[in-house]
């Protein structure tokens, strides 16, 4: 019957389309080096304020054209909230949460992490152009979730980025807002 010929043809094409999509993923991973965040260590969320590197969140130069941005998320702010990095450099974001689950998404990029208490999140990114991006908490984290954000200012390549450190972020925004 003709219908079974169509059926086989449709399913065969379907398998090839799915396989092609999967191969595109392999290509993106191998050739373009697009990796997901993976295992980057554990931490006690109650000790974030005294555990390196999170005791001093900030932007650090780790080598020629290499930076590390250390960020702590807590209800309802990022520390630091204003981040300056140069375009073209390899930037590793290392982040964690001191209380509940938060999101960490630099809008307009593929830098997209979950901050989960007890876990260290890490991924690397290279901004190709100068500009400003919002840093968003995109996971619901309580009443003040929609006030939790930061900014990433991408400077011209070669700009001298001063070491930006914030003091250990131990005062919670949550405690402040929750009293309202």
């Amino acid at each position: 019957m003709k219908i079974h010929v169509y059926e086989k043809a449709f399913l065969t094409v379907g398998i090839f389309v799915l396989a092609a999509c999967a191969l595109a993923l392999v290509y993106a991973t191998v050739v373009h080096g697009l990796h997901l965040p993976g295992e980057a260590g554990r931490i006690d969320p109650a000790e974030v304020a005294t555990t390196p590197p999170f005791d001093r969140p900030g932007v650090y130069q780790r080598g020629e054209g290499q930076y590390e941005v250390v960020v702590v998320g807590r209800a309802w702010s990022f520390h630091p909230a204003d981040i300056r990095v140069p375009a073209g450099a390899e930037i590793t974001f290392t982040a964690t949460s001191a209380d509940v689950i938060h999101g960490f998404h630099i809008e307009g990029t593929r830098l997209n992490l979950m901050l989960i208490p007890g876990q260290i999140s890490r991924n690397t990114y290279r901004f190709s152009e100068p500009g400003e991006h919002l840093l968003l908490c995109h996971e619901y984290c309580g009443l003040g979730h929609h006030v939790m954000y930061g900014r990433v200012l991408v400077e011209e390549p070669g700009t001298d980025i001063p070491l930006v450190q914030t003091a250990s972020a131990s005062d919670g925004g949550a405690a402040h807002l929750a009293t309202h």
């Binding site: 059926e7 980057a40 979950m114 007890g118 876990q119 919002l134």
Partner: protein, 556 residues
């Protein structure tokens, strides 16, 4: 056309005892009531993206996130499972032409009602504004976890009822193939049984004792992983009852036939095998899970796309046969000849069309490269309103247009209003999804009270407005549905209601010899599914060092 085979034991009809029908009727009423309750908050959530807050109009509502919790819990948990708890046992009873177990039927309804009471108590009192994903260490009141656990228990009791009916039937019909409608109904909830175990463990072993003070701390990555262990398969638990309608009932409703018995059974087996070992694709952005595990789940997610592709073929073929029998000619002429005046069919045809977009965006979510751009942006609710929010919801609305008359004996109040509801909802959905999808590509965050956020982006303006406009139109569509169903129940004419479930027939009969009868060995397939789950989750679960670090936070 050659001889056709029925997908039920007795094509002439089977009437469930009136008392059992009544229980099923009340079970679906709970579902549709939850749909209505949830969409009010859906409207508020959508308008918030357009910069408009209507929270002041909700008496007793304290926060946006309380409303968002109500929207998620009512619309994707209570609505879907209440419907399925009634629909699947009804289909099984009809397929096997035998009554259900009254005690189990009542206990399933009782568990559902008790669960609802506890959840309503928790959510209405702002004791559980943790959203339906319930991520620890945000902590809800114990009634919330216990209530949701009872809802899960009600689904298990519904499955037990179907399995008892199946066992009874097998005893009386040794060596026979299971009637197809019964087979797909039972297999749908069998998959859900396996899928629901991790969330039951999450709630009963970790979160409930933690809320009651019996555990000081939990490991948030572990509980989150248990949630998504269930959480991808749960979407198939919502979808498969809709597929039951598309495969087994819609062909009859459009005057077509279901093309193949074995093909249909294989699709359900694939869902049983592949729905569950895919959860890590919801956790691509998570720390603490290796890229290898994520890649394995990504590949399996591509795999579970296949039975949906197969469904597209089978359902379209059934529709085309119906359209051609009604006189449709040419390549696409059959489409015009489909029964576009039948609201039950139209709602489901529109559900299928939107599901094409839902499926395509789902494949993009599974692709971890794109996932990094769209994860937790409004892209994701844009996607799932085209799956559970339309493929499932519109199908359940379409089914209601014959099911409520069938269960009440009253004919549908107004065909025209019902048609208007389906079209309105779909048009609203497409506008809404266009807004959310495009906003998500620009980073617009989901689950966020945008109307009062302290940041914004010019790129989110138009998407936000489309979200608000589309959401409002969707809301109007559901209100029309509510009007039609409400008026049918209280004022429908007491004649002319359908006397039977619209069961289809198949072009190819179930084979009695060869490999096909092995498809009916559900126990073996269930064991295979468990093996695959262990392969996909075992390495992570064994290698993961559980460290309870988080006390509860009530930041709402």
């Amino acid at each position: 056309m050659a001889s056709l085979t029925s997908i039920v034991l007795d094509p002439e009809g089977y009437d469930l005892p009136a008392a059992q029908r009544r229980v099923l009727r009340w079970t679906v009423y709970i579902g549709y009531a939850a749909l209505i309750a949830g969409v009010f908050h859906g409207l508020a959530n959508a308008l918030s993206y357009a910069g408009i807050s209507i929270l002041g109009w909700f008496p007793g509502l304290r926060t946006y996130y309380q409303g968002l919790t109500a929207h998620g819990v009512a619309n994707v948990l209570i609505f879907t499972f209440s419907f399925s708890n009634a629909f699947l046992p009804l289909m099984t009873a009809r397929a096997l032409a035998r009554p259900l177990h009254s005690g189990l039927l009542w206990s399933s309804l009782a568990a559902l009602v008790a669960g609802n009471i506890l959840v309503i108590y928790a959510v209405v009192g702002n004791r559980a504004s943790v959203l339906y994903t319930s991520y620890a260490p945000l902590q809800a009141h114990w009634t919330y976890y216990l209530g949701l656990a009872l809802v899960v228990v009600s689904t298990w009791l519904a499955l037990a009822n179907m399995l008892i009916a199946l066992r009874g039937w097998r005893r009386e019909h040794p060596g026979q193939r299971i009637p197809l409608l019964g087979y797909i109904s039972v297999t749908s909830y069998l998959m859900w049984l396996l899928a629901s175990i991790p969330i039951a463990v999450e709630f009963l072993v970790f979160l409930l004792p933690w809320t009651l003070g019996l555990r000081a701390e939990v490991d948030p990555l572990l509980t989150r992983t248990l949630f998504w262990f269930t959480g991808h398969a749960i979407v198939y638990a919502w979808l498969l009852p809709a597929y039951v309608s598309w495969y087994a009932l819609i062909p009859r409703q459009v005057g077509g036939v279901l093309i193949s018995d074995s093909y249909t059974r294989i699709v359900w087996i694939l869902f049983l095998l592949l729905s569950i070992p895919t959860g890590f694709h919801h956790q691509y952005a998570d720390p603490g899970i290796s890229n290898v595990m994520k890649a394995i789940h990504g590949v399996l997610t591509f795999g579970v796309f296949f039975p949906s592709l197969a469904t597209a073929f089978s359902v379209m073929a059934a529709l085309e046969i119906g359209g051609r029998r009604a006189g449709g000619r040419g390549l696409l002429g059959w489409i015009r000849k489909l029964p576009w005046g039948d609201p039950s069919v139209v709602a489901q045809l529109l559900a299928m069309i939107t599901f094409v977009l839902g499926g395509a965006t789902g494949l993009i979510n599974a692709s971890f490269t794109m996932n990094q751009v769209v994860h937790n942006t409004t892209w994701v609710p844009g996607h799932f309103h085209m799956t559970v929010g339309s493929a499932v919801a519109l199908t359940f609305m379409g089914v209601a247009y014959w099911l409520i008359p069938y269960l009440t004996g009253r004919s549908l109040f107004s065909r025209r209003l019902a048609l208007a509801s389906a079209w309105t909802y779909t048009i609203g959905l497409l506008i809404f999804a266009r807004g959310m999808i495009s906003g998500g590509l620009e980073g617009m965050p989901r689950r966020t009270f945008m109307a009062e956020a302290t940041y914004s982006s010019e790129a989110w303006r138009l998407p936000g407005i489309l979200t608000g406009v589309g959401g409002s139109i969707m809301f109007a569509g559901v209100m029309l549905f509510f009007l039609v169903i409400g008026l049918t129940i209280v004022a429908g004419r007491q004649q002319g209601a359908p006397r039977d479930v619209p069961v289809s027939r198949t072009l190819t009969a179930p084979a009695q010899t060869g490999w096909e009868p092995a498809l009916d060995r559900l126990g073996v397939w269930g064991a295979a599914a468990i093996a695959l789950i262990l392969i996909a989750y075992g390495p992570w679960l064994i290698g993961y060092d559980v460290v309870p670090v988080s006390p509860g936070f009530r930041l709402y």
